[in-house]
């Protein structure tokens, strides 16, 4: 699933046309990147409809600011940065709205010091039944949802989207070392969360 350098400079000619006012060229870019954008947004937010909204906003924002894209980074990276930022903002909005409400009684919550305070009933009798493929997916997503935004972003960008450390560093505007340490902590938190959620891995 890791997609290493999926898009190269082949975006640039369309970006250039776009900057020259060619709307159709932008459609090519939209169709090319929408899936990746949606998956980033979806894994960050954990809600499909919200993710679709965010992807729309991200593309509109990208179109409006396309003249500001100077080609320093890859276009895909630039797009993902927009998507990540919008997702983060949306997440913050949703969190304030939910007002410290837990995402799910089954999910664990990660406190700032990285400790997981799982809900004891999570490992109830139905745990085994939930070990269906579809449930596993839900559990994993639930644990991602339980992560703090900064860990979540790194985990999604690295383990799901397969960006390199320096690409992630550029997107999140943090040093590469920070990316790594966040990633490792995110994985450990995920392991602990999944263990709690599914009993045994």
């Amino acid at each position: 699933m890791r997609e290493k350098k999926q898009t190269r400079d082949e975006d640039l000619e369309f970006v250039a046309s776009c900057q020259g006012g060619d709307v159709d060229a932008f459609e090519v870019l939209v169709r090319r990147h929408q899936k990746r954008m949606l998956n980033i947004a979806y894994r960050t937010i954990g809600n499909y409809d919200e993710a679709c909204e965010i992807v729309q906003e991200a593309f509109i924002s990208a179109y409006k600011n396309i003249k500001g894209f100077k080609g320093k980074a890859k276009f895909a990276t630039w797009l993902c940065t927009i998507c990540i930022n919008l997702s983060r903002n949306r997440l913050r909005q949703l969190r304030t709205r939910r007002h410290r409400e837990a995402y799910s009684t089954d999910d664990s919550i990660m406190t700032p010091d990285g400790e997981i305070k799982g809900d004891p009933p999570a490992s109830g009798p139905s745990a085994l039944d939930r070990l269906e493929a579809r449930d596993v997916q839900q559990q994993v997503q639930g644990c991602i949802n339980a992560l703090d935004a900064e860990f979540r972003e790194v985990l999604i960008l690295r383990d799901i989207q397969g960006f390199s450390y320096d690409e992630i560093g550029a997107m999140l505007k943090v040093p590469e070392g920070t990316v790594k340490s966040r990633l490792f902590r995110a994985r450990e938190a995920m392991r602990d969360c999944l263990k709690k959620a599914m009993g045994d891995l």
């Binding site: 459609e27 169709r31 799901i160 995920m190 392991r191």
Partner: protein
Amino acid sequence: MECSEVQKQLSAYIEKVLSPKQKALIDAHLKGCKQCKRALADLKKTIKYVQGLEEVEPPAWLAQKVMARVRSEAEAKRGIVQKFFYPFHIKLPLEAMALIFVAVGTIYVFKTMQPEMRLAQAPIEQKESAPPKRAPGKGEVHDVAEDKRTPAEPAEQFRDTDKEKTRARKPVGLAKAPVEEAKQAEAAPSVGAAPMDELERGVALSSAEFEKSALAEQREEGGRFVVNVKEIEPATKDIEGTLRQLGGKIINEESFANKAVIFAEIDSKKVGKLLDQLKLIGEVQGEEVALETWEGNVGIRIEIVEISIRP
């Protein structure tokens, strides 16, 4: 190496970002520690789970919706641009045409009104410069450009020729004025910046003054005469002969079914004689105009009409 320490570095170990020395230490520890081995396995599984998350497919409407919004955005942008350039696109030709129309109209109006304007200008012109000039030599020719003198001079004139000025404003003064001004115009027919100036002044004139100047124009034309004769052809020849005799110049001749028209130029002083001659040829109808004061040639129009048709 302690287990907790090893477990902290397991992620880095998986990512293979550890130094060879640290890697060797962890490798050694993992061989003998079941707990850490299990932790490593769990971590690897976790990563697999995360990586194993299925990708979601974007709905078909997503790209369409995005593009619809982008297109309306682009449309709005173009709309602003169009609005901005609208006056240039549409109005520029209009403005150009209007300008040309005004220019052509101005030239046309000026050309048709020119003589009147020059004459009509006279009273004002007189006020400014003519009075002192008129005193020493009545027929003295002076340039229009001369009128542009230092401001001190007119002030002086104001004192000196106060009476004359008031006269100049009266109709009596006006009667003289057009004649003199016309002389000026003939002597110095400068068609440059001055006519524009005249035009402006002319517009300011009252209707009474305008009538006067219109009268003056007729004089300049010399006169229109209608000569009623029995037969056109011999009469026309006679008139032509008379004109030549008096030193006149025939400009144009037009002949119609029962009339002929001669346009000629003749010395103003000889118009009277011509009139006398015309009376010998036929019955003359026409404006009696006094042209004694006129100098130079004037244009006249002689219409020869056959009277034999009439009973």
